[in-house]
Symmetry: C2
Subunit: 317 residues, 2 copies
């Protein structure tokens, strides 16, 4: 049976719209409503401003897609999807601060520190990180259906590792130290594996962790998911570097050519444009190979993971 | 039986020295060794600098004391103690940044951003928060004896709530907005209940959560611990405000009179010095009353919690 015959009705766009509606609604519900606590209104507004109405939500979509592939708990996946997005959102808020990238615009809007001040941006980022872990650990009598303790703990473990020293924060530190330096291929790969790869891979693994039994937990399936997560994390960055030189700023939604202007090492500066484009396609093939392994292990529902990989590698912005 | 007869040999100083030796050793082991990852050495050094060799470690001691009171798992408590301290440490690093309090010295050493730069201080704080949740969720085959999943999830939930929007980060935001304002007593209490109280109370409750069965889980015991935690959190801040006007900077280890100079609302500015001192003693009595309730509920091992409350209220720095 050909892949196209398995999922005749799957449409990534329709699927994404449905998933994103759930994610946006959940984020709006879970990222504090300032009305609850008037003294905290300022912080609450900054947190909501940082999170709502923005971004491609690639990480939440990966969580939901991976959860579908393993037939996991949709309620658990929604919390995981939002938690991962909060970590991503907080990292952007802190990244934009004057002591880091000093960006004043993001997604066409003033960055959080421009809109709310640096101190509020710092605290909003800090509070968003804490909220991510709070979302993953609802009290067992919470009405949106309990996530069992083992899943809660497992999700927290994966997210903490992906966000921290040997994950996103570590990658940012390497990135910071690398400006103006000549990194070799292995150093560039390591930096991105941590800076963006860790959280993208965690999105896949956390989505899959929303099933705690059945084939999802087999070593073969876990390995296939890890390979998919590694490849998609890397592909994301390679394509980002390609678009930085090929897309114009209007399509990209941010300043094109910025990496080169800042003398940041990129896949394109290291490998050249054509080789980077070839590399991105190879990585797409790696994700498809991993999905074939999932199917062979009895998990045929891989269309969303396939669609996201294709979209991510062949996107124009 | 009088309280003094129950614990004839208890010496807070000896007990603290023993506990702190374990905590310091664990922090040094768990807060990343840069040797593991050369590219991450800079971030690792900043994280260790922020955490090791400093502070009274009041929060870890409260965790350990509460765990003793409920005869909980010492291994779980050690992780909880270190996790709470990492949250405290990260908050100080971010608090000291130029966009917040702009402090250049802490505990007699240059602050993290002075020693490592603002960007590294920001990232070190972010990574320390993630590490706190990583410490609470060891893989179940970890050699230092597993903490069961229910305890892991429960500890994460309490720490995330205490650190976030309706906890420490929220309190800092209120504090930030309150400089130069006239707060009334209820607003001042609310600010401190969040800013410092939430994490101190969480220390008590997390220590107690290291026992998942027996009398520790009864409603009466949980209420008594919460009351103790509330009172000790508040007492800590009242005494801090008192010392800001009565102690000299050398004894205090930080600049005395700073609150008044910055026109920050304090218990002393609101109530006066004598009333603040009386209030601190009342709060001490509340902690002792709560401990009597614990004892009545069949948990007699309260001497460390008692000693810490007394030390905290009657400290000179």
């Amino acid at each position: 049976m050909k892949s196209s015959e398995k999922t005749p009705l799957f449409n990534l766009n329709t699927w994404s719209v449905d998933q994103l509606a759930r994610v946006e609604q959940a984020l709006s519900r879970w990222v504090v409503c300032p009305e609850d606590a008037p003294a905290l209104a300022g912080l609450g507004h900054a947190m909501r401003y940082a999170v709502l109405d923005g971004g491609k939500r690639l990480r939440p979509l990966l969580v939901m897609a991976a959860c579908e592939a393993v037939a996991g708990s949709a309620n658990a996946a929604l919390r995981a999807a939002c938690a991962v997005e909060l970590i991503h959102a907080y990292s952007l808020v802190h990244d934009d601060l004057p002591c880091m990238d000093n960006d004043v615009l993001r997604r066409g809007k003033p960055t959080v520190h421009v809109a709310f001040g640096q101190a509020s941006a710092l605290l909003a980022g800090d509070a968003l990180q804490a909220l991510a872990f709070e979302l993953l650990t609802p009290a067992l009598d919470t009405t949106d259906a309990a996530i069992d303790s083992a899943t809660q703990a497992h999700l927290c473990r994966m997210l903490a590792q992906a966000a921290g020293f040997k994950g996103m924060a570590g990658g940012q530190a390497i990135d910071l130290a690398s400006v103006g330096k000549q990194l070799n291929s292995s150093e560039l790969h390591e930096m991105h594996a941590l800076k963006t790869g860790a959280l993208l891979k965690a999105s896949v693994m956390m989505g899959a962790a929303c099933s705690q039994s059945g084939p999802a937990t087999s070593i073969a399936v876990q390995d296939a998911l890890r390979n998919y997560g590694d490849a998609i994390g890397l592909a994301f960055q390679v394509v980002d570097d390609i678009l930085d030189v090929t897309a114009d700023s209007a399509v990209l939604g941010k300043t094109a050519g910025k990496d080169a202007a800042q003398d940041k090492p990129t896949f394109v500066s290291l490998m050249g444009l054509q080789a980077s484009q070839d590399y991105a396609q190879q990585l797409l093939q790696r994700t498809l190979h991993s999905l074939a392994q999932l199917e062979a292990a009895g998990l045929p529902n891989t269309h969303a993971l396939r669609g996201l990989a294709d979209m991510l590698v062949n996107r124009q912005h």
